[in-house]
Symmetry: C2
Subunit: 332 residues, 2 copies
């Protein structure tokens, strides 16, 4: 008695085609098989609508062709674009992607890693914030934007160069007195190098600069107060501002306009990330663009590279400047 029409397996195909199980397997995997057999098997496959079971394959081969991506969310545009490009890079290599939105939650990050390992993923790519994540050595891991120790490669933009570039651009565009504004995780991570790079650039170009650094939970008002304190007789004493992200730049620009400061006429603003409206339209502001697609490709490369002699501990990819309406058009 046959099984009631459940999902067909290789055995069913073999039966239907009147050949042995092994033969079907070979046909499915493109191994050499006599033509007459091949044809019969292929017909049976079509007839039964057979599909291989990746789970059985994975169990046997101990290889799942699946990678987990840990990322805070897909709502913030930079994360969203990483998710998109990593998915693409994986697709090119016939890999599937498990998306794990961690919501900046350390516990969730750890949970997802456990899940991924139980799911026998071939590797994990993670942009995480938990400073003491436990990740089994047996699962290859690539970190984005935050070094997690010498054994785990970290991929990031060249944040230092980006900060420097911002300073140079502002100098080129005629600024004399600039400011750096930052808010965000105080964790040691790559984006924190933006400050150092900017400082470096200011010194090299003889710009006067001030810094206002806020920690994660701080109120945005502190920036507004900082800016107000630098307005004398209606005039802001800065003619250029570098914000650690486009998101911050966006808020700052709105605040500046509320204070009757014109952007870019009175004060030029540069952000960081390269965010575009709706993901594909114009830049939100003049910005240092992170190469999201290259970061994605590099992560996937490093992760799946089989015989890597020694994985590099840190890879920094080049950033570029893009005009986005909040700087003078001089170097547009």
């Amino acid at each position: 008695m046959k099984k009631t029409n459940s999902i067909p397996t290789m055995k069913d195909v073999a039966l239907e085609a009147g050949v042995a199980l092994g033969t079907v397997s070979k046909v499915v995997n493109g191994l050499p098989v006599g033509d007459s057999y091949r044809i019969r098997v292929e017909e049976a496959i079509r007839k039964l609508n057979y599909q291989v079971n990746s789970y059985a394959q994975g169990l046997k081969a101990n290889k799942t062709h699946t990678v987990a991506l840990l990322i805070p969310n897909t709502l913030e545009p930079f994360f969203a674009s990483l998710a998109y490009y990593i998915n693409l890079s994986l697709l090119k290599r016939k890999y599937r992607m498990l998306l794990c939105s961690t919501d900046y939650d350390s516990g969730l990050e750890q949970e997802y890693i456990t899940m991924a390992q139980q799911n026998k993923v071939d590797g994990i790519i993670g942009l995480t914030y938990n400073p003491n994540l436990i990740v089994e050595e047996t699962t290859p891991f690539i970190a984005i934007d935050r070094s997690m120790g010498p054994k785990i490669p970290c991929v990031a933009s060249d944040n230092f160069a980006g900060g420097q570039l911002a300073a140079e651009k502002l100098a080129d565009l005629g600024c004399k007195n600039v400011a750096f504004l930052r808010i965000g995780s105080s964790l040691t991570n790559e984006p924190n190098k933006r400050k150092a790079g900017f400082e470096n650039g200011c010194l090299a170009r003889g710009l006067n600069y001030e810094m206002k650094i806020l920690n994660d939970g701080a109120a945005f008002e502190e920036f507004e107060n900082f800016l107000s304190d630098h307005i004398h007789a209606g005039r802001l004493s800065f003619d250029g501002i570098f914000c650690v992200t486009d998101s911050l730049a966006y808020s700052i620009i709105k605040a500046l306009r509320r204070m009757n400061q014109r952007v870019p006429e009175d004060v030029q603003v540069i952000g960081f990330d390269g965010i575009r409206h709706f993901g594909n339209k114009d830049y939100v502001c003049s910005t240092i663009v992170q190469p999201a697609s290259e970061i994605a490709e590099m992560c996937v490369d490093l992760l799946l590279q089989e015989n890597m002699p020694a994985k590099p501990p840190l890879v920094c990819l080049p950033v570029t400047y893009a005009y986005g309406g909040t700087t003078s058009e001089l170097y547009k």
Copy 2:
């Protein structure tokens, strides 16, 4: 001779704890087991760092706790938020999510479905554009925004009501002559009902209205021409415009300002979707907000509901109006 330190299995744990394989399985799955045994097994698990193999579980149980999400990309904010909320809803139910960015490519959509089925996902949620996708009946499928036949439930916003709401809002806000602008897939899908709803609302409220409908590949200029044609002596003959998406509204608003039309003083604009800057800040424009989180929850519910008597063919979820600076503040 032992296996060289590869990944530990239940067998290894059983050996280490000096119990039978089945006992370990029970402990892992929380089935009743004598306390002394349980403790020994748990210790062995900790010692060996054992993790269950979901692939073996899945193979056995024919259940993978995995769902595939097909979506064009995560770059466009509305898609990004769907991905985020669906991930969240799945997480609550201990399900994993395979993200499949299809890039609006029919072939890719079909490929991903095949992949998902081979991967034995427990279900698929898809926002797709291929009009003749083949999806095995054996895999539960939930469609977003486009009906794919009576056997496949479709979840969407109440697009008709949304269009109507837009018309009513414009009327309430004092508009007399309005326009509806649309560009996008001409495929029969739920969002196309926005037009009908808007028309309905205009008629009900006695608004004069015009429509400008473009197909997917059309040049944006056609809208600009349309608007120019309605400017006489510097004055636009519309005092209200409803755009089919916030994305379009954004572009239209920019175009209007280039034409020296003030928004919202001269002409009020309402979009659709409820997109916020950077995913979590202010609305891009006054808009009809889609309940992304409710859509997500509904999709997951319908997909995983075990003993659903009859799955509804179409579920429309309520939308709301949100002020976003491009309408009069009257009903803010």
